[in-house]
Structures are given as structure tokens and as C-alpha cells.
């Protein structure tokens, strides 16, 4: 702390600072942490981006799709006999098995939730050709309902943490330890994103999704089953959110709370817009960027500025690149 250089704007101003030392000193720690948090943003952001690309809908309830996955993973642990308390020691084989089970459960629940959501809330509106604002309000209503279902079921408190895996340093770069959980999160996110990207760009179904995104009417005329494409889009978004849910719970074991998706959802959507909504690679870029930048911001300006930095970044980028960093894709930009 002797070397700490804190520059205040003016005498008596204690609400903003420029702690360059903290920024530089914590740079790699913040970067690595930010990348792992950003991977989770990116996975959730993909769900927003896909649905937006196909339906032009901000699926506000996607954050609850994610939260359902978090709960699914939590109760998988619980069902396997684990209880809140200190981390248990497991053999590597067992550990992988249990985590895989939780991953499958979370993806299944989130995927199913997303599909049901689409069926119950959005499809009737499409039948009626409702304006997009109406979709948005329905999404908000659905988000309320899903939150409240969890609240009535589990109450307002977060579930007590269950941990199967403690973060242990695996190797060190730039004097900063990289933990097993960080490595798992980033690698798994990358793999899933590559799979999703391949699915969208290389498969028949993916072509259908792109076709509907580009021009729904023409796609339908060309024999693409629009309803099916929409369902699959929601399913893929839900599956990815479910995967994100498990990584999130590994990182934040206290994260199973009915409100737990709200802020993360907004951040993930911000990430999607940052990268260019409808653009899969943009979602990854936006997620990682957001994760890293909000850590830098917090070090530099102080904790109160963490989220402000995230939103200012969003506004500034949209000022200069109104369709995000990589621009709209999936179909093509429709302006």
C-alpha cells in the first residue's frame, strides 16, 4: 500500500478515483477472471442473439431460462447426495461424471424451458401477427411468471452453496494463477460456441435458421418449416444457457436464487448487442470484452463504477458502430 498511487479528481472528492496502480497491478488477474466471466456472458448472449436474429425479439425471459438451468444443476448435486457445507473431495472420475450429469440436467431443463416458453407465450402471438412491442411485453410477463414460480417454490433466499470442485491453481501466467474452474469454463464455452457456430453455418437445420433470419416469408415459400426453425432456435439458445448455468454455479456456488438471472441477463444481452446482435462470433467477442472491461473499470474507478462502465461501454460503442462491433449477421443486417 505504500506504492499505491491514488489520484483524486479534487480535494474532498471521494466518489471517483483513478487508481492506475490497481489497474496495472491487477491487470492479468482481472483479465483472466474477466475472460471466464465473459465466457458465461457469451453463452447466455448466444440465446439472445439467436432468438433476436430469427424473431427480432428481445427475449427478456431468457435470463429465467438460464436460472432454471442453475436450479437444475443445483438440485442434481443435491439429488446425488451432496449437501451444503465445505467442498467434498472426489476422485477425478467421479467428479467428471457428476459434473457431466449436472451439465446434462441443466441443459435439458433450460432447453425444455425455452421451448415451452416459445410454445406458450410467443407462438400464439405470432399466429395473431402481433406487433413486436407486444412480444416484448409478453416476454416481460413470462419473465415475471418464471421468477415468481421459483420464488414461491424456494423462497427469497439463495440456495446454500454446494461445491464439488474447489478452484485450484493449475498454472501461472504473468504472475497470476489460473484455476481449474476458469480453464474448464473458458474451454467448454469455446467448444460449445464452435459447435453452435458449425451447427448454424454448416448443417441443414442451421441453414434453415439463417434463411428464416434473413427473410421469413421467402424462407417459408422455399419450403422451410418456420415454426420448426423457431422451436430449434429456442432450443439451441436454451441448451447453451443451461451449460452456462452449470459453469456459473461452479464459479458462484451461492448463485441459485430466483433473482439470480436478472443482472446476468442484462449483461449478456448487452454483450450480444456489443458484438452485433444476431452475430454468433459477435456474442463471444462482446461477452469476453464485457467481462474483462467491467473488471478493469472496477479496479480503476472503484466498486461503484463496475456496472456503469459496462453500460457506458455499450452506449459508446453503439454511438460509433450502431450495429455493434462485428455488425449484424445471422441473416443480414436489416435496417
Amino acid at each position: 500500500m505504500n506504492h499505491q498511487v491514488v489520484t483524486y479528481l479534487a480535494e474532498g472528492v471521494d466518489w471517483i478515483r483513478f487508481d492506475v496502480d490497481a489497474l496495472l497491478g491487477q491487470f492479468w488477474n482481472n483479465t483472466i477472471e474477466g475472460l471466464s466471466q465473459g465466457s458465461i456472458y457469451a453463452l447466455v448472449a448466444l440465446g439472445y442473439t439467436l432468438v433476436y436474429g430469427v424473431l427480432r425479439l428481445i427475449n427478456f425471459a431468457h435470463s429465467e431460462v438460464f436460472v432454471f438451468g442453475v436450479f437444475a444443476a443445483y438440485f442434481t448435486f443435491y439429488g446425488l447426495g451432496f449437501r451444503p457445507g465445505p467442498t467434498v473431495t472426489l476422485g477425478i472420475g467421479e467428479l467428471i461424471l457428476f459434473l457431466l450429469l449436472a451439465l446434462i440436467a441443466a441443459m435439458a431443463v433450460s432447453g425444455a424451458t425455452a421451448v415451452v416458453l416459445e410454445r406458450v407465450a410467443y407462438r400464439p402471438l405470432r399466429r395473431r401477427n402481433a406487433p413486436s412491442l407486444v412480444f416484448l411485453i409478453t416476454a416481460i410477463g413470462a419473465s415475471f411468471v418464471m421468477q415468481q414460480v421459483l420464488f414461491i417454490w424456494r423462497g427469497g433466499n439463495a440456495e446454500q452453496a454446494i461445491r464439488l470442485l474447489r478452484p485450484e491453481p493449475v498454472f501461472t501466467v504473468f504472475n497470476t494463477a489460473v484455476t481449474n474452474i476458469q480453464i474448464i469454463t473458458v474451454l467448454a464455452a469455446l467448444v460449445l460456441l464452435v459447435v453452435a457456430d458449425t451447427f448454424i453455418n454448416r448443417t441443414r437445420l442451421g441453414r434453415g435458421i439463417r434463411a428464416v433470419a434473413q427473410d421469413p416469408d421467402t424462407a417459408t415459400l422455399m419450403g422451410v418449416n418456420k415454426e420448426r426453425v423457431i422451436m430449434i432456435t429456442f432450443l439451441v439458445g436454451g441448451l447453451l444457457a443451461g451449460a452456462a448455468a452449470l459453469f456459473y454455479l461452479m464459479k458462484i456456488p451461492q448463485g441459485a436464487s430466483y433473482q439470480g438471472g436478472f443482472l446476468l441477463g442484462i449483461k449478456a444481452f448487452t454483450a450480444a448487442v456489443l458484438g452485433g446482435i444476431g452475430n454468433l462470433r459477435g456474442a463471444l467477442l462482446g461477452g469476453l470484452l464485457l467481462g474483462v472491461v467491467e473488471n478493469y473499470g472496477q479496479s480503476l474507478f472503484g466498486g461503484d463504477w463496475r456496472d456503469i462502465v459496462a453500460f457506458v461501454l455499450l452506449i459508446v460503442i453503439l454511438m460509433f458502430r450502431p450495429t455493434g462491433i462485428l455488425g449484424e449477421s445471422l441473416g443480414k443486417a436489416r435496417v
Binding site: 500500500m1 490497481a22 497491478g25 491487477q26 488477474n29 482481472n30 477472471e33 474477466g34 466471466q37 451444503p84 457445507g85 465445505p86 467442498t87 423462497g155 427469497g156 433466499n157 439463495a158 446454500q160 452453496a161 461445491r163 474447489r166 478452484p167 484455476t179 464459479k251 458462484i252 456456488p253 451461492q254 448463485g255 433473482q259 439470480g260 436478472f262 443482472l263 473488471n295 472496477q298 479496479s299 472503484g302 466498486g303 461503484d304 463496475r306 456496472d307
Partner: protein, 392 residues
């Protein structure tokens, strides 16, 4: 033991200099918790009270964001009323509940209803400082006595409200006591003080920082509902403090403590009453054993009658502020048993009240602050929060 009879107009300095407490010698050893004082007020009384149509109210969060804290209090109040009504067949007091959701704007709509209900002679609440601030005037104008079991902002007693009473020590008491615990008992010379964005957290953090002086070597802030503390943890790690004081609630404290632990930060984790909850111990997992708490509340271990009754009623262990809620309700019930039938009488009764409760001796000064406010430290042992030493 309870030498900290500080004058509590703004007792920050007094509390620091005045505490010739016996706990000093104890290090982190076990001090004996006060047994349930033999003369502690019992809501049952002698079972001969007569009254009719009397009611007391709980006003505070029931379903709002921090509902857990509100429910702790509500069940404490409910227990006192139940015990009273079972013992006194001729005096059935009704408990009316009002949900403020813990926010000032709901509270301003709800409180006039409390005031307008003439059956209500006294109120336990409001739990939070913000809502207390917004509605104190309304209670004052109506002459309806309120005993808050948990609002600790020192400013609340400076508005000249004649009806406002506080059933625990305020931040100006706990802050210096916590600082003393950090420096004397834990022998910390470098302390990182972290606060959340709640009024409680910021107020308490300021009091602690002030009392620590230059031993508060770093300060950071976090947000309510934040779950990822990487940047703050990194900052703390680079400071390498002996101890960390976290001013806030357990929802954020649990993941924060755990993330510190995961990064290998060895510093002792000290947190106030807002964190002292079983939920924290469960939530913080591996980090819990390294944690200490400060609280202007007396250990409830020995209150077996209370604890058993509470468990039966609420189906869980008493939480933070449950005994305070119980004590506050008991005082109001005593008043009703005395035959008080109007608010002026109740106000007078509470103002002149002097009696032992479960948690402490209840006697208020002219501003509505307690004249005695014990502060205790607690630690985690075997997955449970147990008493440590008295610190002020």
C-alpha cells in the same frame, strides 16, 4: 461486564474510550454467554392480565427483497404474542401485520393504515433505516410508539421523534466495538474495510474506518446482488491485510468470503450483524471457519425456552434480531397487561420502561437510544455460529 454505559447522543467517541470490558483478556477464547437473566421480562406475565380489543402491530418487510430478516423479527414478535395469549385467557392481544416490502415508498402508503387503526397501541418495526426515516414523522404525529428491532442508523434518533425507540445499539456503537475487536483481539494492524451500497453497510463502514484510523489500510465497495468479486478480491490480495471487515449483508458476504478464500487470502474475515446468520455459514462453505462476527446482540444460546418456542413456531432456528423482536413485543405486551388502553399511556410506559429483557436491559434515554448496549463478537465453530467474547 457491561461498562459501556455510553451516553448515546452521538456516542461514537465515548464508546471507544469507555469500554473497560472484561473481554479484553479473552483473546479469542470463550466468554460465558449471559444466562437468561432471572428477571428477564416474560410475555406470559402472571396470567391474570385483563384487557379487550388491544392489538400490537408488526410493520416491516414480509415478502419484500430482504424478507428473511423481516421474518426473523415477525416470528419473534409472534412468539411473544402467542405465549402471552396462551397464559392470559382474559387478555387476548391481536398481532396485526403490515408489509412495507422494506422500501420507503411502500412504507409511506402502509404506515398511515397502521396509524389509523385505533386498536393498535404499539408497533414493532420498522426494520430498515430508510423506511424508518421516511415514516418516523407520521408515527410521531400520531403518538404511536414504535420500537425498531434492527434499524441501526445513528441519525434516526436525531429527528426529535418522541415515539421512536431502538432496541439495539446503533452503528456508532457497533463500529468502534468492531474496530476494537479487530485491533485488540485479532491484533490486526492492516484492515481492509469493504462496504456494500446499502445504507447500513456504508454507515457502519464509515464508523469502523473512523475508529480504525490509519489501520484501515484499504477501502473498497461492492454492490447489492453482486456475485462476482474478482476485482475486489484482487485488490485485497495485493494489499495483504491482517483482517477484512465486510459491512453489508450475508447474501453478498458469503460468495465474497468464499472467493477470498479461494484466492488464498488468509486474512480474518470479520462481518457485522447483517452477516451473522446460518445462511452465511452454509453459503461461505470452506471460508466460514475463518470468519468472525460482531453484533449488538447478546448470544441466544442460553435462551432455551425462547429457542424451543421459536423453533416450534417458525420451524427453524432463531435468526438475527429474533430475540430483539421478541423483547420489543414483550415490552408492549407488559404495557397492555398493566391496563394501558391508549397510545399516550403506552408511549409513557415505554419511555419510562426499565427492565431486563432476553437480550439486554431495556431503558431508553430521551432520544430513544438504549442506555446500555452490549456488543458481542461471534465465531464459527463446527458449522455453527457461537459466541466469542464481549467487545463493548
Amino acid at each position: 461486564m457491561l461498562a459501556a454505559a455510553t451516553s448515546l447522543v452521538l456516542g461514537a467517541c465515548a464508546a471507544r474510550t469507555d469500554t473497560a470490558s472484561g473481554g479484553d483478556t479473552a483473546g479469542t477464547g470463550n466468554a460465558s454467554a449471559p444466562d437468561k437473566p432471572a428477571d428477564a421480562a416474560d410475555p406470559r406475565g402472571d396470567g391474570t392480565a385483563k384487557c379487550s380489543g388491544a392489538a400490537i402491530a408488526y410493520a416491516g418487510t414480509i415478502n419484500g427483497a430482504n424478507a428473511a430478516l423481516g421474518l426473523n423479527i415477525l416470528y419473534g414478535v409472534q412468539l411473544a404474542v402467542n405465549q402471552h395469549n396462551e397464559a392470559n385467557k382474559d387478555c387476548q392481544v391481536e398481532l396485526k401485520q403490515f408489509d412495507t416490502e422494506g422500501t420507503p415508498d411502500r412504507a409511506t402508503g402502509v404506515v398511515p393504515q397502521v396509524v389509523n387503526d385505533s386498536a393498535i397501541l404499539g408497533v414493532v418495526g420498522l426494520p430498515f433505516s430508510g423506511e424508518s426515516k421516511a415514516t418516523g414523522d407520521v408515527f410521531n404525529q400520531a403518538g404511536l410508539v414504535t420500537i425498531t428491532p434492527s434499524a441501526t442508523n445513528p441519525e434516526l434518533t436525531t429527528h426529535g421523534w418522541k415515539t421512536f425507540f431502538r432496541a439495539l445499539g446503533n452503528d456508532a456503537v457497533q463500529g468502534p466495538a468492531a474496530a476494537k475487536f479487530l485491533t485488540d483481539n485479532l491484533k490486526a494492524t492492516k484492515v481492509c474495510v469493504i462496504k456494500d451500497d446499502s445504507e447500513y453497510g456504508t454507515g457502519l463502514a464509515n464508523a469502523v474506518v473512523q475508529a480504525l484510523g490509519d489501520k484501515a489500510s484499504c477501502q473498497e465497495s461492492v454492490k447489492t446482488k453482486q456475485t462476482d468479486f474478482a476485482a475486489v478480491v484482487g485488490k485485497v490480495q495485493s494489499e495483504n491485510p491482517d483482517a477484512i471487515f465486510y459491512a453489508g449483508y450475508y447474501q453478498e458476504a458469503a460468495p465474497f468470503a468464499q472467493q477470498l478464500f479461494d484466492k488464498g487470502v488468509q486474512a480474518k474475515f470479520v462481518a457485522p450483524d447483517g452477516v451473522k446468520d446460518e445462511e452465511f455459514v452454509k453459503g461461505a462453505g470452506d471460508a466460514a471457519p475463518n470468519s468472525f462476527f460482531t453484533c449488538p446482540c447478546v448470544p441466544a444460546d442460553a435462551f432455551t425456552d425462547f429457542t424451543n418456542g421459536y423453533k416450534q413456531l417458525a420451524n427453524r432456528e432463531p435468526g438475527t434480531y429474533s430475540p430483539e423482536g421478541y423483547d420489543a413485543a414483550t415490552i408492549l405486551l407488559k404495557g397492555i397487561d398493566k391496563g394501558i388502553t391508549d397510545r399516550a399511556g403506552m408511549l409513557d410506559f415505554v419511555r419510562n420502561y426499565d427492565g431486563q429483557g432476553l437480550t439486554k436491559r431495556f431503558k431508553w434515554d430521551a432520544n430513544g437510544e438504549l442506555t446500555q448496549t452490549p456488543v458481542w463478537s461471534y465465531k464459527v465453530d463446527g458449522g455453527k455460529i457461537v459466541k466469542n467474547v464481549e467487545i463493548g
